[in-house]
């Protein structure tokens, strides 16, 4: 096991209210696996990624729970360290996050190499050594090392994203978290990017990958397991193949049914929509947060919050349809 998150709650504490963006999630990431995190927009995926890397900036606050990361064979409770400490000691080497729209956040007037120099400074490493490493990594992701000397605007979207991943992995982070890395890429470049990711993993440059996306068809290509989030909670965790074969949570089912790919199975099924909208996370619905949209809603769902429970080996779901408590 590489990472363990125990009952973590992270809220955006605003002046008068709190946005309960991540509200009591528990999961683990094993060594040598790719885990997809999917869920609706606003379900807390980006917040979760910031939490896992302890990139917690006000108003975001860790309210409860623990995050444990395996460092040199031992679990360390990183949630009790400060952001500054985690940043200095662990970012880049143990855990690295490539934020949502990182490639669009590159300053157009700063050469790619400058980012590598920044990295060297923040980790007290020799600039030249790191630049040499970056050149090699650029080649490994299929980019001409000369591009390091170029400006971001000269690179196409697909190239920019590969440059970002190359720079993010220079220090061989064990856990790589990528937040919506493919959503701004065309399918050809998406495929290239997925291939690059898998290659980084095969080469042992990164051990495990958390791939955050709303695009199940994309993450399906590389993920071993999938975590489904809804309104700040995890509703299902399962191996990829099982979840595709038989989604258990009604939300997961709805999500899979709304995927549009040019395939005969999908054409037969047609386009479908989960009725309603995701709840507001300041005062989410009582009981199961999905109950107002759920086609199988029962009385208990309106009163109690279903716990995430193992229903089959390696499969956890938070739904009273599968729970003893259902009566």
């Amino acid at each position: 096991m590489l990472l363990k998150v125990e009952n973590a709650k992270a809220y955006y504490k605003l002046e008068k209210v709190s946005v309960k963006a991540v509200d009591g999630v528990s999961f683990e990431i094993f060594e040598d696996e790719v885990v997809g995190v999917v869920g609706e927009s606003g379900s807390g995926k980006t917040t979760l990624s910031n939490l896992v890397s302890m990139n917690i900036l006000k108003p975001l606050t860790l309210v409860e729970g623990k995050i444990l990361l395996k460092i040199n064979g031992e679990f360390k409770e990183i949630s009790s360290m400060s952001r500054e400490e985690v940043k200095k000691k662990l970012w880049g080497k143990e855990v690295t996050i490539v934020p949502q729209s990182a490639m669009n956040a590159l300053m157009p007037t700063i050469r790619m190499a400058k980012y590598v120099e920044h990295l060297a400074h923040s980790h007290d490493l020799a600039e030249e050594k790191l630049l040499a490493k970056a050149e090699k990594r650029f080649e490994e992701v299929g980019l001409d090392p000369l591009w390091l000397k170029r400006y971001p605007f000269e690179l196409s979207g697909g190239m920019k994203q590969r440059a970002v991943i190359a720079i993010a992995t220079i220090l061989n982070p064990k856990l790589l978290i990528v937040d919506e890395p493919t959503s701004a890429l065309d399918v050809v470049n998406q495929r290239v990017f997925l291939k690059v990711l898998m290659q980084l993993k095969r080469m042992g440059i990164v051990r495990s990958i958390i791939f955050i996306t709303h695009d199940i068809a994309t993450v399906r290509q590389i993920a071993d397991r999938m975590i489904v989030m809804y309104a700040g909670k995890i509703v299902e965790i399962s191996s990829m193949e099982e979840i595709l074969r038989k989604p258990l949570h009604p939300y997961t089912r709805g999500l899979l049914n709304s995927v549009l790919t040019p395939e005969p199975e999908i054409r037969k099924r047609g386009i479908s929509v989960i009725p309603g909208a995701p709840p507001n996370l300041i005062s989410p619905p009582h009981g199961c947060r999905f109950h107002p949209r759920c086609p199988h809603v029962m009385d208990i769902c309106k009163e109690k919050d279903p716990p995430l429970e193992e229903v089959e080996e390696g499969r956890r779901v938070a739904c009273f349809l599968y729970s003893e408590e259902r009566r």
Partner: protein, 268 residues
């Protein structure tokens, strides 16, 4: 008369002051879009899709070629402020990068107030306008309480994109140019957004240009698909033809690369 006519459109970017490098982003493309028509522009990164969209939206002029909207050349015939304002009302953009479409110093609903102010029919009071804004948000699946008064950094990417679509619903334009409009919206809501855009098409006769790399989406919604590559349209036609029986090498590669739910891509 076609709603939009694009004739021999070309855009060349020049880089650098001394050693001039030229990028031919769009090369001599022509097409027509009728009222009520949904067309998808698909193609790899850098193939010139956004550049084409920006010229149609009158954000920068073409190097050569013509764009006629409702019979008028948008670069030559719109002379005064009022006709440009009218154009802004009738042709609406939903952008690729929602992060770039908002001013960080204003609450996000400012963009909706701007839309209300653009309306031809002036609303009698602020309350009525606020009702319209709230209704538009509900339409795109956002609880107004969730975003009103918030600043861009406080809401998610998908929420930002949906607000841009709420804007469309307020303005009810004749042409919507949507550049990756659902790239940050998860599948379960995407269906709703698409239904909303289709409803605008049915009820208001809106024409839509979808710029997307999501061929699955293009396949379901479009009347026609144009495949762009290196600034040119290399294949065009009915979705069944383009997606199921592509003829150009590049369209074949594109179709092959689409991630599928029930099949894994090879060689990853």
């Amino acid at each position: 008369m076609s709603r939009l006519v694009v004739e021999n459109l070309t855009k060349i970017f020049s880089l650098g002051f001394f050693s001039r490098r030229h990028i031919e982003a769009v090369k001599n493309i022509s097409f027509k879009i009728e009222g009520r028509e949904i067309v998808s522009l698909v193609g790899e990164s850098g193939s010139g899709k956004t550049t084409t969209a920006k010229m149609i939206l009158r954000l920068f002029p073409p190097t050569s070629g013509k764009i006629l909207f409702e019979g008028k050349d948008i670069w030559k015939d719109l002379k005064d402020q009022e006709s440009i304002r009218d154009f802004r009302r009738k042709v609406h953009a939903v952008f690729q990068d929602p992060f770039a479409s908002y001013n960080p110093f204003y609450p996000v609903e400012r963009t909706l107030w701007q839309a209300v102010n653009l309306l031809e029919k002036k609303l009698s009071n602020k309350k009525e306008a606020l009702e319209l804004i709230k209704e538009s948000l509900v339409r795109v699946g956002i609880d107004p309480k969730d975003i009103l008064g918030k600043y861009p950094h406080q809401i998610s990417g998908g929420q930002k994109q949906r607000i841009m679509i709420a804007r469309c619903w307020i303005l009810k334009p004749l042409l919507i140019v949507a550049d990756e409009p659902t790239s940050m919206i998860d599948a379960s809501c995407r269906g709703g957004i698409i239904q909303l855009l289709e409803e605008l098409r049915e009820v208001e006769g809106t024409s839509i240009i979808f710029i997307t790399h999501d061929l699955g989406l293009a396949y379901y919604v479009s009347d026609n698909i144009f495949v762009m590559k290196d600034g040119e349209i290399v294949e065009r036609g009915h979705p069944d033809k383009v997606v199921l029986e592509p003829t150009h090498e590049y369209s074949k590669l594109l179709v092959e690369s689409i991630p599928k739910l029930y099949r894994k891509l090879e060689g990853l």
